[in-house]
């Protein structure tokens, strides 16, 4: 009886276009932020400032959207602003060599504080720009993927492209090799002539730009409004995703879609939420959405534990020099 109910619910969920659209939106958002963190961590810089960077990006994007009226211009402005903002972490932890954990957390607190402070006047203001869905003609008529994947907005395709570019640069180019070398063993990379500090700074800046895009996408598409608690833990999910996806752009994408799906499904497990008029189209099981919203974090802990058990016999998948400041004088 219960199983039949859950199976019925699944069917309702899977045929709910709104659910798939939400899944893609949250997936894109999480993917952008997590991808940026992958780049920074691959260079050996843990940045726990993602939550704060996304808040700054969300505010900047919303403000720039009102000023320019163009979601693309607003997203670019937000990316640039957050790349600069991320340099606070870059200067303190990479140049000055302070502890990355503390510096990154301070960046989060600073970002949340700044966004709350500077955004007070924007709370009641209506949105000025919004990403619109991209129509791909006949592709949009394909049942299933048509109204969802092939109707998503441009940022979705940008995120996929950035994911591919990140994978390609990291794994198939000289630049990527140098970046990974800096993250694996800074001293060795330095001896080979790679500028360690500059490489790490650039990686942190790109990570910031990606978090800025993610934040802007939040206020220019997913929830087009501004309030100081709008990021609400999405940045921490992005940090989690990097581990969940084992620092690989492809796996991180799968994780982003999975976690995005959990966020999208959460509020739908309320009784009598119906797609159509017929009673067969309704969700029958009631699961508290707050409980569902814990799952991404719980899953990450589970994956982390599993990875640790597995890596007892093989090398860890994490970049070896992550969290370590590099000072040539101490070599």
């Amino acid at each position: 009886m219960i199983i039949a109910g859950i199976l019925g619910d699944l069917q309702v969920l899977l045929t709910d276009t709104g659910m798939w659209v939400n899944l893609l939106e949250f997936g894109i958002l999480l993917y952008l932020a997590a991808l940026g963190e992958v780049i920074a961590e691959k260079a050996g810089v843990l940045n726990l400032g993602v939550e704060g960077m996304m808040a700054v990006g969300a505010l900047t994007g919303y403000w720039a959207g009102i000023q320019t009226g163009s979601p693309w211009a607003a997203a670019v402005i937000a990316a640039l602003a957050v790349a600069i903002f991320a340099m606070v972490h870059g200067v303190v932890s990479v140049v000055m060599g302070a502890d990355q954990v503390v510096s990154g957390l301070a960046l989060t607190i600073l970002g949340l504080g700044l966004a709350a402070f500077l955004g007070t006047d924007l709370v009641s203001q209506p949105s000025g720009a919004k990403f619109s869905d991209l129509s791909l003609g006949a592709l949009g008529d394909i049942p299933g993927v048509g109204p969802t994947l092939f109707s998503m907005d441009g940022m979705g395709w940008v995120a996929l492209a950035l994911g591919f570019i990140t994978w390609f640069v990291l794994n198939r180019t000289r630049v990527g090799l140098n970046l990974r070398a800096v993250g694996e063993s800074a001293a060795t990379a330095d001896a080979a002539g790679t500028p360690v500090v500059a490489t790490r700074l650039v990686a942190v800046a790109i990570g910031g730009a990606f978090a800025g895009l993610a934040g802007a996408y939040l206020t220019l598409k997913v929830t087009p409004s501004w309030n100081e608690s709008i990021v609400g833990g999405l940045g921490w999910i992005a940090v989690a995703l990097v581990i969940f996806g084992a620092w690989r752009p492809g796996r991180v994408l799968i994780g982003a879609l999975l976690f995005g799906g959990l966020i999208a499904v959460g509020p739908r497990f309320q009784t009598r939420r119906c797609n159509g008029d017929e009673i067969t189209d309704c969700i029958t099981t009631e699961i508290n959405p707050i409980v569902v919203s814990m799952l991404p974090y719980a899953l990450t802990i589970a994956v982390l534990v599993l990875l640790s058990i597995r890596s007892r016999n093989r090398p860890s998948v994490a970049p070896a020099a992550i969290g370590q400041a590099y000072r040539r004088e101490e070599r």
């Binding site: 303190v92 302070a98 004088e329 070599r331």
Partner: protein, 366 residues
């Protein structure tokens, strides 16, 4: 760059951390002043108002100390783990767990006399916080799982647990839509110490002093510092690292949990925002205090004053988030400046300059 580079000092600069804190404070206040000017306020006027609200009268002092309590204890929680080289980023969640456990105890015994109820509530809170840290502690000690990420993730889970409780099973039916739990029994409120401060100030001071002395004088504290400086040295002298990690992280969680219990006295009931960012602020406090209990107390009072000042200027139309901004900037400024307590700048013409190959030379020269 430009021939200037950093060279390690033979000895850390004496009083360097105080100096770094001072530099951080100046950087933060200067940046805060810019923000205030941009927002159309006079920084001097606002800062004076903040200082007056924090230190201007006995009543001001009582509110400052009240704010310093959770900051100091959360800072101590992080510092306990930090002195062993472990990062408890989960104080925020452990505060929530403490508040949940504390109010659960208080709900069980509404007829108990005040002192007994309060004692049980605080013990329950400490156990709650310790329990939330137990998982990461076991994972770290036995599987080597990074405690930073596990404690971080548990923050979000704890936050959603309290959200679930006050929206569902524990929701006050008379609260017309507001997601809050019913008020705790009257006798669970902490007795007043002076003005607006309750006895949590004494409790926090006692915990800090006892722990400060214990960590400095006992074998346990000594072993802790050895384990923090070198795992190999610790194992060589026969310290069980696994047990140390377990006890230290759980103790850290218990201290944070105590904050949750004490905050219940201040808020009368458990609400979703019971942790209010105290746990994250505790990380800043501990980092600035270099994980030392005495430093934790001093930084906690300074930041308590900042928060009181931040709330006081709300009436002038300045968002209270200015206090958070200044806190974060003090830390970032101090982190950056702290480099110069262990390093000094060497000019391009000094004989210890030059490239890295002359490292031996520079050591001779300095």
């Amino acid at each position: 760059m430009f021939g200037f580079r950093l060279a390690k000092r033979d000895q850390a600069l004496p009083g360097g951390q105080v100096l770094a804190f001072g530099i951080g404070l100046i950087v933060a206040l200067a940046f805060g002043a810019v923000l205030l000017v941009v927002a159309g306020h006079s920084p001097v006027e606002i800062y004076l108002k903040m200082a007056d609200a924090a230190f201007g009268s006995p009543q001001a002092w009582s509110t400052t100390l009240t704010q310093a309590v959770p900051l100091g204890l959360a800072g101590l929680a992080v510092a306990v783990a930090g002195s062993m080289g472990l990062w408890n980023i989960g104080a925020e969640g452990q505060i929530i767990a403490g508040a949940i456990a504390g109010s659960w105890v208080a709900r069980l015994g509404p007829d108990l006399p005040g002192p007994m109820l309060i004692t049980l509530m605080l013990i329950g809170a400490a156990i709650g916080g310790g329990l939330l840290a137990l998982g990461p502690a076991i994972a770290r000690a036995h599987l080597g799982v990074n405690e930073i990420i596990t404690t971080l993730m548990l923050n979000e889970i704890a936050l959603r647990t309290v959200r679930y409780l006050v929206n569902g099973p524990w929701k006050d039916p008379t609260s017309i839509g507001f997601p809050v739990a019913p008020e705790l029994p009257e006798q669970a409120a902490l007795p007043t110490l002076f003005e607006r401060a309750d006895i949590s100030v004494l409790i926090a001071a006692a915990v800090l002093i006892v722990f400060g002395f214990y960590a400095a004088r006992s074998k346990w504290g000594f072993e802790l510092r050895i384990a923090g400086s070198s795992e190999k040295a610790a194992e060589y002298v026969g310290i069980s690292l696994k047990r140390k990690i377990l006890t230290v992280l759980v103790l850290s969680g218990a201290i944070a949990g105590l904050v949750g219990g004490l905050r219940l006295g201040a808020t009368d009931r458990i609400v979703e925002g019971v942790a209010e960012g105290w746990g994250f602020a505790g990380i800043i406090v501990a980092a600035l205090a270099l994980m030392r209990p005495s430093g934790v107390a001093a930084v906690a009072i300074a930041f308590g004053a900042l928060r009181v000042g931040g709330v006081a200027i709300k009436g002038q139309g300045v968002p209270a988030s200015i206090a958070e901004i200044i806190q974060a900037l003090v830390l970032l400024g101090a982190l950056g400046a702290a480099v110069f307590t262990t390093y000094r700048i060497v000019g391009p013409n000094s004989n210890s300059g030059g490239d890295a190959t002359s490292r031996d030379m520079s050591e001779v020269a300095s």
